[in-house]
Amino acid sequence: MSSRRLRSRQSSSTRITEDQIIELVSKLQALLPESRIRGNDRVSASKVLQDTCNYIKSLHREVDDLSERLSQMLATTEMSSAQAAIIRNLLTQ
């Protein structure tokens, strides 16, 4: 019974079309790194979803690694206000 309610709510409020999903999947595919290498027509949605999940996981791992290195560097560097100003200058270039 809950499934019927969910389906009716979806069809009345959002009216998800096939084209909309295809458009979103292709937009997602454009963000993936491999899409620039292959000619990206007719890649299945399932493959795009799989690649997206893997990509997000690898991005998470990268952020974790970078956090690890940053935390180590925070411990060792002096981080005086002068250095912070230098960093800010470098960043705004």
Partner: protein, 199 residues
Amino acid sequence: MDAEAANRGTEDTHKSDACERERKRRRTDAHPQSLRWKSPTEQQSYSSKLLEALHHVRRTSTSSSAANATPRSRAVREAADRVLAIAAKGRTRWSRAILSKCRTLKLRKKRVAVAFGHGRHRKPGFSAPAEAKNPPTLERKMKTLGRLVPGCQKLSFPSILEEASDYIAALQMQVRAMSALTEILSSLGSSSPSSNPNS
């Protein structure tokens, strides 16, 4: 009667125009939103805010007596995610989910863990999305994706896809900013061994 019909006609077109405009506005808002993560100004603003947050992390972690390396890297990760979520300016679900998670973790860790457990057990009740033609593997992948993007566990198909594309663009910027920061810090650390130069 003609005038009435004409009025109703124009009313309908007005309503549909308004809907169309809103939809267009939402769509044009969505596109520059993910393009926004690629702009250098966005990355610079994120980097400087992240730097401030890292200062704060460093100050708070050195004040506590039992400061080991593992919680600090997690503190850095959380600070980076929080600054990223703030940069999204509340327009996406994943950013709001990250910010609300930060607040609940600060208050009560146990309750969040228990709620998570209950959520996991309740999963089999969730029904299929509108497209019944999709094979079960696609649905399973959508669920995995929904779990990877914060706050998107029970969303509809297109919402998850939209959130995921914005989330990926934001994560890419986060990686770029943090890599640049790491490079700068490592070069600074190696070049200046002592703190204050004399005169």
